[in-house]
Symmetry: D2
Subunit: 148 residues, 4 copies
């Protein structure tokens, strides 16, 4: 089992916390449940963005590369959208709520598209199976923000 | 008048073409009107992203900085969304249309938010006036894609 | 104490592992000590990039904003360099070693500049103190790669 | 001939100017020759970054894809470095000169690596030939900054 999910750790079952959380919690403006949801979204977006970069790259070295062009395309797109969304969900100063919601909606849609394409290759490429999972976690974190 | 808009140039009234257009037009898959709209969108996104980075930075050096925190926040967000959207609109290989549309919709919403905030400071900061204009051009280029 | 550093966790004293590590370890090309160093570098770059985005944003809402323009500038730069470096350190397919080294050298230099500027404000802004620390951790992870 | 290079235009032989130039020229701090060199660098980095994204994507759709994994890898890296460098060269507020130089040096090295790999495929893929050219232009613009 991957150590992040080890049962004796406080953050079992979730991504290890990142330093950005400590910093955002020191933001001079008051926080609350919405900020917490944004922070989980930002952390999942960074994890998903890094994973999509890694899955696109692993696919580029596979012997069945010609079957994986769809995975590579959607993982590159998903990395770009997740990283932009991570930055926007991290920022707390004077947010434009329409902008924040529109970006997180686009990220949720992007994560679904990436998970679906990676799922098609999950049986023969473990990196695609893991990437699909992280996309679904990121989509769920986006949905938590959008539920407000 | 800025040379890009000089009347004796083929691309009068628009951004000068970028090299990415030449390359995308050589893409092995067939193009068409939708590709042309994506390309205009990609070019405007790169111009808008760079302009928002510059406007956030100019605002950071203004003597009325405390009045400009909203401009800085939204310009940083807009630069991030525009640059991610530029990459997605540039790619032609096996696009997921839901993903492409959702991203460009988020970009259009972001450009409107940035133009509105910059407009509030346009009378006393010329860089905000120009940034609002480029955001509106980028929004229009996004809308052209979304009209398909 | 921050849970990531809790002593009963396997990854005590370091950033919680990210999913990209699992994926990179499944890369079809063989790994080794250099890959391990690249992976630590990629993880620290993502943590540092997110932290710098958060520190720039917290600074933008501080009442002594006018004293913090240097922090904001260098944190924006450091976020950009760290995120580009994270992607490059993540990729394992056919690397150009000159390119990889030059990028990681620039990241190390950037992290030092950011840590120095944040240190100047660490006494009165805890987010600057934490940001300086994460920059030093990222610099150390860059140096580990450069030692090969 | 590509319209940007048409002989009756003021910016013949160079990239069309981008709106970021107008904005940076309005920056409240005084400019000079170094700022001009940074601006050319920023514009070339944006052109090169977009072109590398497009060349990686065109390569992904080519029938000899398996021969082009090195091009795809280096174009992805070059797009990431160029876009980070464009942002840093655009910002004028309180620059850390070590950081600016280190980033632009990494960009110059990256552009050389990308041009060399694209050149290897220039005879059979016109998009690789054009991409190699834009990398060399970007490298030259980096060198202009580094000559100060």
């Amino acid at each position: 089992m991957h150590p992040v999910y080890a049962s004796d750790c406080e953050f079992a079952g979730t991504l290890g916390e990142m330093t950005l959380r400590e910093i955002v919690e020191l933001h001079p403006l008051p926080g609350g449940d919405f900020r917490d949801a944004l922070l989980r979204c930002a952390e999942e977006c960074l994890d998903c963005g890094g994973s999509c970069t890694a899955c696109a790259d692993a696919s580029l070295s596979e012997s069945d590369l010609a079957e994986l062009t769809g995975v590579i395309r959607v993982c590159l797109d998903c990395a770009d959208v997740c990283e932009a969304t991570a930055r926007i969900a991290t920022r707390q100063t004077r947010p434009d709520i329409r902008l924040v919601r529109a970006t997180i909606e686009a990220c949720a849609t992007t994560c679904v598209a990436c998970a679906e394409e990676c799922d098609r290759h999950a049986a023969h490429h473990e990196h695609c199976r893991i990437c699909a999972d992280v996309c679904r976690r990121c989509k769920a974190a986006c949905d938590e923000v959008l539920a407000f």
